[in-house]
Symmetry: C2
């Protein structure tokens, strides 16, 4: 397949003019809520679609609801019943994407681009029955492909599908990214462009580190790890799906002029040319730290604590065990701030059974993670992180690692200091700001 | 079938308590936009549904969109393209009913009434392909009936269906009444209750004639004629469908406490006990009068005028031909004010061909109609109308009649005077106001 080198492999081929390509490139363009928030924005999206078509590409579009609309619908549902039936909740909240898919088709028609909307049930995009956060089971790409072959732009309502019983099901917040990747896989698209309100994936949060720089490429695994530890640009599920289905994803801004080299490309590791040691640094303040002191140092003590927590649906993230006084042991771990109260109540109730000394908690902690596929073959990444933090007098409370990620828990007041120091230490600072 | 006599035939049976009935009555309750305009109103509708269920009835519900929402959607569509694709327009505007059907199902669940929403495509309610004002071809009542048999309240989104190609189609403004009647026919419901913002059908407009009174019953044909000449309570199409399918329709208020004797019942002529000469008096200011003077009095002159008008889609309503000077003839007729300009332009263009003298128009006219099945067997109705108007010095410009209706075109400034005089003359004045 012929692909422009700026978005595809690294083969160095120059791009043939689109009109001479035998098989036109097929892309999926996905637009989020702020990109379709009013008629002017919808017209602007239509222009972007037309621009891609003029490059000779086949374009399928996926849209979110106008920003604010889904929240309004959720409020309606919960206003009537905080425990609203999930099927009905889905019928209500899916309406927002129905509106924008129809409106974008109209806006495209108005500038001479033939288009038609597809609701989830019309595609059909089949889901399981987990209403409210359903998983996609199968996307039947035939009708959408037929449209493309006829030169019509299919505009699919994101975030929604239909279950076996023909009830509308939604994919959970941010689900439109997943819809877009799933559609791209189903129709064999060459790329899935996610238009959003930022112009790509950054080495870290530019609000904290001014010298953060936009990445041209990032691997699926790095993106997955970054999304899982606080980076909010792409929904984790959509990245996982893109990795499994090998869909090239690009993140770019819908608010600026863009070309084929804009944004950040999320690709397989082999496609990533620049093998940086560390791709990005993320932080999360969503965790609370729980410490249990003076536990009996017995076999099975971890299971006695974490078994019941897991049974109660509390997700435990980072764990460290340390030696206490008199052959006792201490256990420190993190849970989501939302689940902290539930976890503590459970542990308090088990105090006599487990025979621990003291339970303390802290919410003034931040988890900082460095992520990069390069650390697979380089052992110095962790050492550099610990040394950099130590030089600034920052105490590491808990450490956890995965194959391509190192996370540390530190006092929240060192957040900015730690982020900037690490960004510089790993050589990520943007040159233009030097 | 056992029916309470207050809503059914005139057999004088006393009503058995619902719980002892072997076959529970099945009713369709339809709620318009003002009845579901916010969460409080939706909760109130849920209460009304529960009240009916407690009478031992099976209840299916049809809802409109929250008032204002459909207009907002139409504005969005036309804001992007005044000639928006009708399929896409339908996908957008049908979203309002999707929201209220889901919300009402949630509100019912919240008070312990099992319920589920049905979109048009889920029923399915099949339509033709005339998007924007589609006609219902078939309603598959099986899924809705299955719900009822399981004690679940089906809540159908009104105004919408699905065509053969699985595209969403809407039935045109006010189409939810038609949806409700069609559903009632499909599931063999005993009655279709249309809840609206008035408490029934009146002998005439109470804003003009204070002594207007609510009718307990009216026949389909009378309702059809009244709807066609200006009474706006029920959509004409829904009444026609009810007549063809023999669905008993009741119009009542969703803003007051109601019981089985509330509102107005629209029934077959045989079911109507009180055979009044005149059921109601309606008026319409939607028409313009066009007069063509000094036409050659030749055979075929009517065809020469009305053929082209009809070909151009201009609906001509009342027509009168009168003798002019020198063997010429004059032609006066009415068209909708919206079509007046188009009609005149067409006629001006044909001036040399038809060889008429002068074309004049007037918008200061009102069409007043008296409607009643009683006039089939009573020839005095028309005479009484002409005499009553003559006694007040009101000149009749054009007359048209049907089997159960007489309409006259008069100067608009006599509207109130004529309406009140006729209301009294036909003995329609409410006694309590005497």
């Amino acid at each position: 397949m012929s692909m422009p080198d700026c978005v595809g492999g690294g083969d160095g081929d120059t791009v043939l003019p689109a009109v001479t390509q035998k098989t036109p490139q097929t892309i999926v363009m996905k637009f989020g809520g702020t990109s379709v928030k009013d008629l002017d924005r919808i017209r602007s999206v239509a222009q972007k679609v037309q621009t891609e078509r003029r490059k000779g590409r086949h374009v399928a579009v996926v849209v979110s609801a106008m920003s604010g609309v889904t929240n309004q619908m959720v409020q309606y549902c919960h206003g009537l019943d905080p425990e609203a039936d999930a099927c009905e909740y889905d019928a209500v909240v899916a309406s927002g994407e129905q509106v924008t898919s129809g409106l974008l088709a109209i806006a495209l028609g108005a500038i001479g681009v033939p288009a038609r909307s597809f609701q989830g049930w019309q595609v059909p995009l089949l889901t399981d029955e987990a209403h409210g956060c359903a998983a996609i089971e199968r996307v039947d790409g035939r009708a959408v492909k037929e449209c493309l072959e006829q030169g019509i732009v299919p505009v699919m309502a994101g975030f929604q599908g239909v279950d076996k019983a023909q009830r509308i099901a939604t994919l959970g917040r941010g689900g439109s990214d997943t819809s877009a990747v799933a559609l791209a896989a189903a129709i064999g698209a060459d790329q899935c462009d996610i238009y959003t309100d930022v112009d790509g994936i950054y080495t870290t949060d530019p609000r904290i580190v001014k010298r953060a720089k936009r990445l041209e490429r990032i691997t699926y695994e790095e993106m997955l790890e970054l999304a899982s530890v606080g980076a909010k640009v792409l929904q984790t599920r959509s990245v996982g799906l893109a990795m499994r289905e090998n869909v090239k994803v690009r993140v770019l801004s819908s608010f600026t002029e863009t070309d084929d080299s804009s944004g950040t490309l999320v690709v397989e590791e082999d496609d990533s040319v620049e093998k940086e040691l560390v791709a990005g640094i993320a932080y999360s303040q969503d965790d609370a730290k729980i410490t249990i002191r003076n536990l009996p140092d017995e076999p099975g003590i971890s299971a006695a604590i974490f078994g019941p927590l897991s049974g109660a649906g509390v997700n435990v993230d980072m764990i460290v065990q340390s030696i206490g006084v008199d052959h006792s042991t201490n256990m420190t771990f993190t849970v989501s701030k939302k689940e902290e109260a539930r976890a503590c109540a459970l542990l308090e109730g088990m105090k006599s059974e487990i025979r621990y000394g003291e339970l303390t908690t802290s919410r003034d902690v931040v988890k900082i993670s460095v992520v990069g596929v390069g650390m697979r073959s380089n052992t110095g990444v962790a050492a550099k992180m610990f040394r950099t933090l130590a030089e600034r007098g920052i105490n590491i409370q808990v450490i956890s690692t995965s194959e391509i990620k190192i996370s540390v828990l530190i006092d929240a007041e060192y957040t900015e200091l730690a982020m900037r120091a690490l960004h510089t230490a790993y050589g990520l600072d943007a040159k233009k700001e030097d």
